[in-house]
């Protein structure tokens, strides 16, 4: 029975994920251009190529590295289905990863396992639906919504994400306390160095070096301690 399950996951589910992912990913890129096509066809607004090229080059030099570094950094966390979904929907570190991880906690499954990946996919899909619903309500009601909020609540909203990250680090770190303490120290040193401009010679390093470095240092530390544990 266990073998049959394995075959189903590897030979049926995974190829299906890639098929849906590639189809929707590339189609999504095409659909993203609908607004500019409407601007051109209906309103006759077409930017001058030279100006657009200037803007694109400044954008690409600011974000271009991220196009490659972020999918690589987050892949070990979100897996293939998660990669297809998270990058089409955006808001990865502040929403997709927390939701996928909390879904795994609620279902009591381990990350990196078959069950873990399936549950993370469910969690991520739900978070996309909730996120789009909240944004849709907000966009329709417009600026009037935020005008209703008192200033104290607006100020408090700024602290939601830092608090969420602190809480999630503890949630997941408590299972691997020594590893987490090492990683917080390493991450602090890395971010401090980035903040002090040590890596300014790398283009846009402040945007991507921290996450990339921490994910792969953490994986390296994890694998090293795993093989030590096996030897002893």
């Amino acid at each position: 029975m266990a073998d049959m399950n394995k075959d189903f996951y590897k030979d049926e589910y995974t190829p299906q994920v890639h098929k849906i992912g590639k189809l929707t990913g590339y189609l999504g890129v095409v659909l993203a251009f609908i607004p500019v096509v409407v601007l051109a066809v209906v309103y006759g607004i077409v930017p001058k190529p030279a100006a657009l090229l200037t803007a694109f080059i400044s954008g690409a030099s600011a974000f271009g590295v991220l196009w490659f570094v972020e999918p690589i950094s987050y892949f070990p966390v979100v897996g293939p289905a998660g990669t297809y979904m998270a990058f089409l929907s955006g808001n990865i570190s502040n929403m997709r990863i927390p939701c996928a991880s909390m879904a795994q906690v609620a279902a009591e499954v381990e990350p990196g396992t078959e069950k873990g990946s399936i549950v993370a996919t469910l969690g991520m899909a739900v978070s996309i639906i909730i996120n789009v619903s909240v944004l849709t309500i907000g966009a329709i009601l417009g600026t009037s919504v935020l005008a209703l909020l008192p200033d104290s609540i607006k100020a408090a909203l700024n602290y939601l994400l830092p608090a969420l990250f602190g809480a999630l680090l503890v949630q997941f770190g408590m299972k691997m306390i020594r590893h987490s303490v090492i990683m917080v120290v390493v991450a602090f040193a890395l971010y401090f160095a980035i903040g002090m401009g040590v890596f300014n010679w790398l283009p846009g390093a402040s945007n991507w070096l921290g996450t990339l470095g921490c994910v792969f240092i953490s994986i390296a530390v994890g694998i090293a301690t795993l093989s030590n544990a096996k030897k002893s």
Binding site: L52, A55, S89, T136, A155, Q171, T211, I219
Partner: protein, 247 residues
């Protein structure tokens, strides 16, 4: 015709609505596939429902944060485009910068100068062109990265779990470190008072989040309080936010 009237017109809502609906369709397709696959690998309906509920609760807070970021885009590029750009591939910081780059290439400063038709077109084009890079590379590389990961772990299930768990801790320690290191290097660089105050507050919120979560998780585990396990994250975030705002 006034450019913002056009930017907020019905036609733009429809044009931007198609990609947004598509993002939801993709999520539903993956969720359906995952749900039926979950049943086949032995996940119970109950567990999967719990997982989805937990994710729904977790996503509300960050969604509101994204929403409050979106409102600045609503003013500058109009409702439909702001809505689409944050529902698809978006992140608030990136979108505002990209929109600004687009308009400044034709001499319009976003948020200060009046929007012109040309600048609006530039903003939308730049946001779209600069954001599809992520999707193109992610879509192209997901299956290749999966193969590399399997090769590195030699298909060993234990190693795969270690990689995933370590990667999660890596991501969250990075996010935490970005908040707790900022006051220190900002201080050394003699940042202005307002920036320092917000850096200290963010650090405090981050540390409070960690401490409250630690206490609640310990308590919930020790006395085996089910509801506390389920709600500890929500209680923690609200508590940390309120205390930080009062300080």
């Amino acid at each position: 015709m006034d450019v913002m009237q056009m930017a907020n017109g019905l036609l733009m809502w429809i044009a931007c609505g198609i990609p947004v609906v598509f993002v939801v369709i993709q999520a539903v397709l993956f969720a359906k596939g995952a749900y039926s696959a979950g049943k086949k690998v032995g996940l119970t309906d109950d567990k999967m429902r719990k997982a989805m509920k937990s994710s729904a609760v977790t996503s509300i807070g960050p969604s509101i944060v994204v929403l409050s970021g979106m409102l600045s885009l609503l003013v500058t590029v109009g409702g439909p485009v702001g809505w689409m750009r944050l529902s698809m591939i978006g992140s608030v910081m990136f979108e505002s910068i990209a929109a600004g780059l687009g308009t400044s290439a034709v001499g319009v400063t976003l948020g200060t100068d009046a929007m012109t038709e040309e600048a609006f077109g530039m903003a939308v084009w730049t946001m779209v062109l600069c954001s599809v890079g992520w999707v193109l590379f992610a879509t192209f590389s997901a299956n290749k990265m999966e193969k590399i990961e399997h090769k590195l772990s030699k298909g060993n299930a234990g190693t795969l779990t270690t990689i995933a768990s370590a990667a999660i801790i890596g991501v969250f320690s990075a996010m935490v470190a970005s908040h707790i290191s900022k006051p220190f290097y900002s201080m050394l660089q003699k940042a202005e008072e307002l920036a320092m105050s917000s850096a200290w507050h963010n650090m405090l919120a981050c540390i409070l989040g960690a401490v409250i979560m630690f206490v609640l998780t310990k308590a919930a585990n020790k006395k085996d309080i089910g509801w506390l396990k389920e709600w500890s994250l929500t209680i923690t975030i609200l508590g940390a936010m309120i205390i930080t705002a009062l300080v």
